[in-house]
Amino acid sequence: MHTLTTLAASLPSGMYTDSFSPASETVRAGVLLVAPLLVGLPLLSAAVLLLAGRRSDKWGHWLGVLASAASFVVAAIVFVAMLQRSAESRVIDVSLGTWIDAGAFQLDAGMRLDPLSMTFVLLVTFVGTLIHVYAVAYMDHDVDRRRFFAYLNLFVAAMLILVLADSYLLLFVGWEGVGLASYLLIGFWNYNTEYAVAAKKAFVANRIGDLGLIIALGIMFATFGAVDFGTVLSGADGSASEGTLTAIGLMLLLAACGKSAQFPLQSWLGDAMAGPTPVSALIHAATMVTAGVYLIVRSAPLFDAAPTAQLVVVIVGAITLLFGAIVGCAKDDIKKALAASTMSQIGYMILAAGLGPVGYAFAIFHLITHGFFKAGMFLGAGSVMHGMDDQVNMRRFGGLARYMTITWLTFMAGWLAIIGIPPFSGFFSKDKIIEAAFVPVDGAPWRAWVFGSITMLAAGITAFYMSRLFFMTFEGERRWSTKRDGSAQHPHESPKLMTWPMIVLAVGSVGLGFFLNSGGRFVEWLEPVLGHSEHHEPVLPIWVLTVLTLALVLLGVVIAWRRYAVSQVPVVPPVGTALTRAARVDLYQDSVNDIALVEPGQALTRSLVYADRTVIDGTVTGVGLSTVLLGGWVRRLQTGFVRSYAASMLLGLVVLIVVVLLVQS
């Protein structure tokens, strides 16, 4: 992969072509020459860290941070260069040379630099760098910190390949790369069997999704004869039947479900919290899990031409949205509650992406703000765990606000952002999605009401469970474990290396939404990719929607305040209602999977193993045995006596002559 980078660096600037402007514009692409470094730097660093081994233990983590930061600097340079171009010429294809040349199938490897990919690149490198810094302190005591940073860098590189790819196949490379990095990092502490199992679960669930992407690739190649974005997306209007496009769309959705933990492939995300907290923040909150949203938005022309697939996308998003929110209400593990919330928030994004042109930009908008506030909250959770001896049970927290002021304040910024209190970031992005969901669809008036209500209801539930989380952790009475329970806890604020990234992310949680929303800045920025979308009036006036939503949010907060801040929170979880009990075990998702997939699968495997042993091995052994018997027979013929050798030759000759003469006559 690195050779690819150096190759690209050595190519003349002529390889940069604008999709929208004549060749003369390519001259201005000069500064974009550095773009391949985006992927190259973290990849190189990962290779160095993995190959240098223990020798790099002392400085390895700083190399990791440096690589990520350098990648961000490169991203910033490219971003500025892109801003200087006119809006129409902001889609730039960077060719890295021929990748595959196999008869009818030809594919160039290349990067597509456009506002959509740059948005992701900036998010990944910026948040990634902050989390790298955070992890330097968080992983301080881990003997394998270097390896951890190698994997983090590998992840950053793979994620950048994913978003910068100019074809579905190269995207798939990144897609698998982030899957691998995710697997390695979830199972980072794999001496703990449970964590290793969690990693495996994530991997398997992701494989199912990957299968969708592979099938989609196959259909694309069969239909369009190519898998690059240019051909496929331009072929979407006209040259393919709606049925084909729907099939591609559904397969892409399956892929998105696997990677973004959407229903019905969501079960792995909660277990994935087994990984170190910076991993949860970077991969399982801010970036990788949003790859599914990216995939759908990137494939917008395909989905626009396949309304059925779009409807399924919206339904999946809506189900996951509620599913995650309900599960989030019952979880006592702070990281798992956050994971449920991630799932739910990505449900928002998927739903928005399924709404078509009215929703694409807002899906990405919410993705960006969510990347900031959710990463911030995960880092906050990590900071709490750091101060509380790796305790994750919120029933053992309480009243931490006084002891961890910075964590408390930054977490509060994230909390207010996610529940959508103006003017925090989440308000702008989530409100837009709710508005878009209420926009009427021609021929299906029920859709606006159903999906609109779900998004609004979910906003209320979100407010409840996030407030529950916040109050149980920072407010109310202390319920820390004491000497009697094992070890006494002495909460303390985390070191500066950890708090500063949290502060930066909190700033984003507070102001980013307002900044990007003012004047429609963000939507306009994405227009070269997603096209201009006319403003549509929702079924209710916008101010009504906003007020209703805020009312529901406040209601949720108040209920949470009364139950978890004011009143006593039991250390031992109460039995609870049937719904609570169901939500605690992820609404029986694992049991359903076990019954529907795991057990039949195991039965099938067992029978296959049995068939393999008896039928196939039996045949093989039988053939082997009879061959050896035959060999023994041949061996007896080899007596060692010249006379018998000569006789056998003569006999053979006579037989051959007879055969030849018989055939001839």
Binding site: V623, G624, T627, V628, L630, G631, G632, V634, R635, R636, L637, Q638, T639, G640, F641, V642, S644, Y645, A646, S648, M649, L651, G652, L653, V655, L656, I657, V659, V660, L661, V663, Q664
Partner: protein
């Protein structure tokens, strides 16, 4: 006025053969006139120069042949065309590499040959010769004579020259087979068997030649071919004659049912000679077979097809199956060479140009792996007891190879490479070779043969991989022998009790081996063998990864001169 016209002989076209045979004659003179001290150096230099010269001569002839398609030399007795040159280059190169192994000596100055082949095994005279460090440098001219015969063999244009070439290449080999330094009785027995059976097959060949001459009135391939086109009343004369000629050639390549000598001779001959014989004789004999089938007997393709099919199937199956139950390394390789003869036959049966290319290529890659593999077998020795005890003969029993991968990883890896090439695993030259012969066979309509070939190859993988497993994943036999009672059977003696299918009863050094425990070691040498093995390994890898340049090169000249 008529002037005397001297018969024109195109000496240039003959140069590869002439150089080698001339050097062989000079080698005989060297034996007579050069003092004993300097003989080995002079002989080795002469032989290497001759073989290298032959390669250069082939290269010099190449472009001319590529343009004209070939020359008829000596009034049609020899045909210097593309396949001839490819085979001559292959034979000369493989002989050169083999020669390095033949010439090599261990640290203690022992080569692979008896100090005095005329001495009775075990006699005082032999012991005296051994102690005085006598060495038989006649080996070099003998190898050169054999090589000279091999260079002529695939180039012959008539049956008489074919027979002469066969004898020129065979007689030195009979002699060389009987000259092993260790296990001399086994070696002499092998030599005797080889000679008797070889004489028998020569007689069959000669009889066949007589019958075919009786039918066609000519010894020239081209004229015989013309005669077969014309319907005559003596078809059975022609057919029986052809079968006899083919059987003489099939004997040389070791095809079933004319293979019986192969394992015994391969086992008994001095190992470097086995490598030389296996690689070069096979190349020469298959070359001749290819020419006869393609230029002399194409009219009989249908009638003789059944013979070739039967022989090819039997050869693949018997070679593979018998190799499974061997316990002696040299016999395993012997049977494996029989199986490979079967694979090559499928390429001949293809009867198309792809078949010619595939066979020629296969002979090169098989030869390289064979010379290398036998070179390694020569290096793996028995040692009586501890580290300082004397080095004995080759450790050929399979059990003695256990754990070699731990003690000598590089050597074992290289041997593994050759085995994988024999097995036809991708990225080794053997795969490219097998792929080309089987695809040629399929193209020529002989897909059932290709199918059997693939099946036989997959069975053969078993015993090749078994050796690899033995080398890398099994405890060394020495570890088990340590502390064993002195009376316990040493592995090599045990090898003879159980091993192989030979009835050879006498062992030259049974006393030494039974006295104490025997360990396996890799002997240090002057280094020639290591160079040769490295070259073979390199060829095996390079032709495995990039076979197409060589295949293209061969394809550019793969047409027989009519």
């Amino acid at each position: 006025m008529t002037e005397f016209v001297a018969p024109t002989v195109d000496w240039a076209a003959l140069s590869p053969v002439v150089i080698v045979l001339l050097a062989a004659v000079v080698g005989v003179l060297v034996e007579a006139f050069v003092p004993a001290r300097a003989r080995r150096t002079v002989q080795l230099t002469l032989a290497v120069a001759a073989l290298a010269g032959a390669v250069i001569a082939v290269a010099a002839l190449w472009s001319g042949v590529e343009e004209t398609g070939g020359t008829v030399v000596l009034g049609g007795s020899l045909l210097v065309d593309g396949p001839t040159l490819v085979l001559q280059a292959t034979i000369a190169l493989l002989a050169l590499v083999s020669l390095l192994i033949i010439a090599d000596r261990t640290e203690t100055g022992e080569d692979a040959f008896a100090p005095n082949a005329a001495a009775v095994p075990g006699s005082d005279y032999e012991e005296l010769a051994r102690r005085k460090g006598v060495q038989q440098t006649e080996i070099y001219p003998l190898v050169l004579f054999a090589t000279g015969g091999m260079l002529i063999f695939p180039a012959t244009g008539d049956l008489l020259t074919l027979f002469v070439a066969l004898e020129v290449l065979s007689l030195p080999l009979y002699l060389l087979t009987g000259m092993a330094r260790r296990r001399r009785l086994l070696s002499q027995e092998a030599s005797m068997k080889y000679f008797l059976l070889g004489a028998f097959s020569s007689a069959l060949l000669l009889f066949g030649i007589a019958l075919v001459y009786g039918y066609s009135g000519s010894l020239r391939f081209s004229e015989i071919s013309e005669a077969t086109q014309v319907p005559g009343g003596l078809d059975s004369l022609l057919l029986v004659g052809s079968v006899l000629i083919l059987s003489g050639l099939l004997f040389k390549v070791g095809a079933v049912p004319f293979h019986t000598w192969t394992p015994d001779v391969y086992q008994g001959a001095p190992t470097p000679i086995t490598g030389f014989m296996a690689a070069c004789t096979k190349a020469a004999a298959f070359g001749a077979l290819l020419r006869i089938v393609y230029t002399m007997l194409p009219g009989l393709a249908w009638d003789l097809g059944v013979l070739l099919w039967t022989v090819a199937i039997l050869t693949m199956v018997v070679g593979t199956v018998a190799a499974l139950v061997q316990t002696d390394m040299k016999r395993v390789l012997g049977y494996s060479s029989i199986a490979h003869a079967g694979f090559i036959l499928t390429g001949i049966i293809a009867l198309n140009e792809a078949g010619i290319v595939a066979v020629l290529f296969y002979l090169l890659v098989y030869g390289a792996a064979t010379v290398g593999a036998f070179g390694i077998v020569w290096l793996v020795r028995e040692r009586a007891g501890g580290a300082d005890s004397p080095i004995l003969g080759e450790a050929t029993h399979l059990s003695q190879w256990a754990g070699l991968g731990r003690t000598n990883p590089l050597l074992a890896l290289t041997f593994g490479l050759f085995l994988l090439s024999f097995a036809g695993i991708p990225l080794t030259a053997g795969f490219a070779g097998k792929f080309s012969v089987f695809s040629a066979a399929v193209e020529g309509g002989a897909w059932p043969l290709a199918l059997i070939g693939v099946l036989a190859s997959s069975v053969a993988v078993f015993f090749y991989v078994r050796i690899i497993v033995l080398m890398f994943f099994t405890e060394p036999a020495g570890a088990q022998d340590e502390g064993a009672a002195p009376s316990s059977l040493a592995p090599s003696a045990e090898g003879f009790a159980l091993g192989g299918d030979s009835t050879v009863a006498v062992e030259a050094e049974p006393v030494v081996q039974a006295r104490s425990t025997v360990s396996t070691t890799v002997v240090g040498t002057e280094g020639f063998a290591v160079v040769a093995i490295a070259v073979c390994a390199l060829v095996t890898i390079v032709l495995g990864v990039f076979p197409s340049p060589v295949l293209d090169l061969i394809a550019s000249v793969a047409t027989f001169l009519a």
